[in-house]
C-alpha cells in the first residue's frame, strides 16, 4: 500500500473540466430580470385564511452587478479526478492534525516503550533465568527484547491506526464529518482518504519506534528497515480500514472503550507480539490464527530474526511463527492475506458510509 501523497493539486483548467468556467446558469441568471419568476402562492390546508401575495420584486440588477466577477467557480462533480482530490485532501488533514499534536505523538510512544523496556526486560530475566545467559531457553545471541521488538512495533502501529480511524467518531460528534459527507464527492473517496491518512500516521508513529531498534540489538540494516517499513505500511492500512469499519457503527465517543476492550486488546495479545506462537494449547492456537494482526507481526519478526546470528535450537523455538496444520506460511502469503483483509474490510467500511440515510 503506497501512501502516495495523491497529487490532486494540479489546477483544473476550465477547458478540460468539461464545463465552461462560467456556467450558463450564472450568465442566464444575470441577464434575466429575476422579477416574474415568483412562485405561485401556496396555501396549505389550514383553518386560517392565508393571503400569500407574489414576492416583492427582487432588485436583480443591483445584486448581480457586484457578483459576476467572483461568482463563477467550477465545482467538483463525481469523476475520478474529483475522487483523487478528495482522497488527497482528507489525507492531508490527517497529517496536519498528526504533526500539530506533538504531545499525542509522545504519549503514544510511551506505552510501547514501557512494554519493550519494562515488560521486555522483566520477561527477559525470567526467560533466561534457567542457568544463566549461557544455558537459557533462548540460548546465546538473542535478547528477549529483540524478540519482542517487532511485536511492539506492530503494537504501535495497531494503536495509532485504530485511534486515527476511530477519530471519525469524533468528527461525527463535533460535526466535521457532515462537512465531508455533504461535499460533492463520493463517500468512498472520503473513506479511502481517511484510511490512507490513518495508515500514514500509524506508519510514521511506527517509524519512531523503529528508530529505537539499536537499543534492543536490532541492526540498522537498510534492507531490514525497508522491509519493516513496507510491512508496517501494509499492516497500518489493514488496521486503519478495520478501525473505520468499526467507527461506522459507533455513534458515541464513549463507545471507544468498547472497541479497545473487545477488538484492539485481543488483537494485540493474540498476535504473537509478546510470545512465540509455538507450543500453544489448541484453543489459543486457533485464536491466534484468526487474528489478522498475527499475519502482519510474523513477517516482521522473521525479518528481524533473519538478521541475527542464532543457534538452530533458538531459531526453532522463536522462529516458529504462523503455520496452518504444521505448514509454515510463506511471507508472501502472509502479507497477501493482510492486504486482502485490508481491501475487504475497506470495501465494507466504504459501503457502510455510502449508504444514504
Amino acid at each position: 500500500m503506497s501512501s502516495e501523497p495523491g497529487k490532486g493539486s494540479e489546477p483544473v483548467k476550465a477547458s478540460e473540466a468539461g464545463e465552461p468556467f462560467s456556467t450558463p446558469e450564472h450568465t442566464g441568471a444575470s441577464s434575466d430580470p429575476l422579477v416574474g419568476t415568483a412562485p405561485a402562492p401556496v396555501v396549505a390546508p389550514t383553518p386560517a385564511p392565508v393571503v400569500a401575495p407574489t414576492p416583492a420584486p427582487v432588485e436583480g440588477a443591483v445584486r448581480l452587478g457586484a457578483s459576476l466577477d467572483i461568482a463563477a467557480v467550477r465545482i467538483a462533480g463525481g469523476g475520478l479526478r474529483d475522487d483523487a482530490r478528495a482522497v488527497a485532501v482528507v489525507w492531508r488533514r490527517e497529517l496536519i492534525r498528526f504533526f500539530r499534536n506533538r504531545l499525542r505523538i509522545l504519549t503514544s510512544l510511551a506505552q510501547p516503550v514501557l512494554f519493550l523496556f519494562v515488560l521486555g526486560t522483566g520477561l527477559a530475566s525470567m526467560v533466561s533465568a534457567r542457568g544463566g545467559p549461557q544455558g537459557s531457553v533462548l540460548g546465546a545471541g538473542i535478547d528477549f527484547k529483540t524478540f519482542m521488538f517487532p511485536g511492539v512495533v506492530g503494537m504501535t502501529v495497531l494503536f495509532t491506526a485504530i485511534f486515527s480511524a476511530v477519530s471519525i467518531v469524533w468528527d461525527r460528534e463535533f460535526g466535521f464529518l457532515r462537512e465531508m459527507l455533504v461535499a460533492p464527492v463520493r463517500r468512498g473517496a472520503i473513506v479511502v482518504g481517511k484510511c490512507v491518512g490513518g495508515a500514514t500516521v500509524a506508519t510514521l508513529q511506527g517509524v519512531l519506534m523503529l528508530a529505537l531498534a539499536g537499543l534492543v540489538h536490532v541492526p540498522y540494516s537498510p534492507t531490514l528497515i525497508l522491509t519493516l517499513l513496507g510491512e508496517m505500511m501494509l499492516a497500518a492500512f489493514m488496521l486503519t480500514a478495520f478501525g473505520i469499519m468499526l467507527a461506522a457503527r459507533i455513534s458515541q465517543v464513549e463507545s471507544f472503550q468498547v472497541v479497545m476492550q473487545f477488538f484492539v486488546l485481543p488483537m494485540f495479545f493474540l498476535s504473537g507480539a509478546l510470545f512465540p506462537l509455538s507450543n500453544l494449547p489448541q484453543w489459543l492456537a486457533v485464536l491466534t490464527k484468526v487474528d489478522p494482526l498475527s499475519y502482519a507481526v510474523d513477517p516482521m519478526r522473521r525479518a528481524v530474526l533473519s538478521q541475527m546470528a542464532l543457534s538452530p535450537r533458538t531459531r526453532a523455538v522463536l522462529g516458529q511463527g504462523m503455520s496452518w496444520d504444521g505448514w509454515r506460511l510463506p511471507v508472501g502469503l502472509e502479507l497477501g492475506l493482510v492486504a486482502l483483509a485490508g481491501v475487504v474490510v475497506l470495501a465494507i467500511a466504504a459501503r457502510r458510509f455510502a449508504r444514504p440515510e
Binding site: 405561485a40 463535533f174 459527507l181 461535499a183
Partner: protein, 335 residues
C-alpha cells in the same frame, strides 16, 4: 452573456408535496413551495416543526419518503452530487475542524469542492474579508468565539460560489450583538453575491430580513408570503384580557367590536391595529367586567397563533418527541 433570451429563470428550489417520516413520526407532511433565483426565503416555525428535516432533504443529507424536491434544477435524490456542487451550507451546529486554522478549514473545503487554484486565493480573501476574519486566518479555530466560528462557516459556505446557500438557524445560540452582526453579513452577501438564500429561524424579527417567509408547523406550511403581508395579518397588537366570565367577554367582543377572540392559557386574546388606542374604547363600550388588560407588540407567538390557533409553546410541547433528536443528527448517528 446571452441577454434576453426570454427563457424564464428556473426556480432555485422547487418542492412538491415533500414528506418525511421517521418510523411513526411524520416530520414533514406534504410541503410544497418554490423559491425564485436570487430570493431570500425563510422557514419560520417552532422547534420540531420540520424545518431542519426539510433543509436536510434539500441538502441531500436525508431522503424524502414522499414527494419531490429540486435544487438549482436538479433532483435531490436522483442527482445528489449535482445538487451538492451547487449548494452551500451553514449548519446549526459548528462543523469546523478545531485543530485547523481558519484558512486551513477553508482550503480543505475548497479542495473538496474543487475550487480552481487560479481563483482560490482571491476567493479566500474575499470571503474572509467579508466576514471580518482575514486578519485571523492563521488562528486555530479552537481559539475562536462562537460568533467568529459562525462567521467562518458562512464564509466557508460561500467559498465555492454556490447558487443556493442554506442557513439552518444561523444565529442560534449567539448573543444579540453577534446576531445582528451575522445579519449584517447576510444582508451584505445578498447584495454582493447572486445567491439564493434559504434559511430557517424561529425568531420573527430575523424572518423580516427575508423576501418571503413560510410559516411551518407540525410538518406543514400554514402560511406563506412577504413579511409585510404576514405582518398585516399578524402584525397587529395583541390585547389580552382576563375576566371573571370569559364567555361573556368573548361574545361582547364579537358582538360589539366585530372581533374574533381566541381563548388561550386562561385568557382572551384579540388582535387589533393599535392596541393602545383600542383600550380606552374597550373600557367605554365593552360593558362587561374585566379584571386585567395587557397590550403587547406582535411576537412570533402571535404570528403563529394567528395561523394555527395555538401558541408556540403548545406546539413545542406537542412536538417535543419529534425534536428529541435533531433530525439530521438522527440521520447521521443512529445507524
Amino acid at each position: 452573456m446571452s441577454a434576453g433570451t426570454g427563457s424564464a429563470v428556473a426556480p432555485a428550489i422547487e418542492v412538491c408535496d415533500l414528506q418525511k417520516r421517521y418510523g411513526e413520526i411524520e416530520a414533514v407532511r406534504g410541503v410544497s413551495f418554490d423559491v425564485a433565483a436570487g430570493e431570500t426565503f425563510g422557514f419560520l416555525g417552532p422547534n420540531g416543526a420540520g424545518k431542519s428535516t426539510t433543509i436536510s432533504i434539500l441538502c441531500t443529507l436525508a431522503e424524502p419518503t414522499g414527494g419531490t424536491a429540486r435544487v438549482s434544477g436538479h433532483d435531490v435524490v436522483a442527482e445528489r452530487l449535482e445538487v451538492r456542487r451547487r449548494i452551500g451550507l451553514v449548519f446549526q451546529d459548528v462543523t469546523l475542524d478545531d485543530y485547523l486554522t481558519a484558512e486551513e478549514n477553508l482550503r480543505f473545503h475548497a479542495d473538496l469542492y474543487g475550487v480552481p487554484k487560479a481563483v482560490l486565493a482571491e476567493r479566500l480573501r474575499r470571503v474572509l474579508e467579508m466576514v471580518g476574519l482575514w486578519d485571523r486566518r492563521s488562528g486555530l479555530v479552537r481559539t475562536f468565539s462562537g460568533g467568529m466560528k459562525r462567521r467562518l462557516e458562512i464564509a466557508r459556505g460561500l467559498l465555492h460560489s454556490p447558487r443556493v446557500l442554506f442557513l439552518d438557524e444561523p444565529t442560534v445560540g449567539l448573543d444579540p450583538q453577534t446576531r445582528s452582526h451575522i445579519w449584517e453579513y447576510i444582508e451584505q452577501l445578498r447584495r454582493r453575491e447572486a445567491v439564493t438564500i434559504f434559511l430557517t429561524t424561529h425568531y420573527m424579527d430575523e424572518a423580516e430580513h427575508c423576501d418571503r417567509i413560510a410559516i411551518i408547523d407540525g410538518g406543514r406550511i400554514v402560511a406563506m408570503g412577504t413579511p409585510e403581508t404576514l405582518k398585516e395579518q399578524v402584525g397587529l397588537d395583541r390585547v389580552v384580557l382576563r375576566a371573571p366570565d370569559q364567555d361573556q367577554v368573548t361574545s361582547a367582543l364579537r358582538d360589539r367590536f366585530g372581533l374574533d377572540p381566541i381563548i388561550s392559557e386562561g385568557a382572551v386574546a384579540i388582535h387589533v391595529a393599535n392596541g393602545a388606542e383600542f383600550v380606552p374604547r374597550l373600557f367605554g363600550e365593552l360593558g362587561v367586567p374585566v379584571s386585567s388588560v395587557s397590550v403587547a407588540r406582535p411576537t412570533l407567538d402571535d404570528v403563529f397563533m394567528t395561523f394555527t390557533g395555538r401558541t408556540i409553546r403548545d406546539a413545542e410541547a406537542s412536538t417535543s418527541e419529534v425534536n428529541a433528536t435533531r433530525p439530521w443528527m438522527r440521520a447521521m448517528r443512529s445507524r
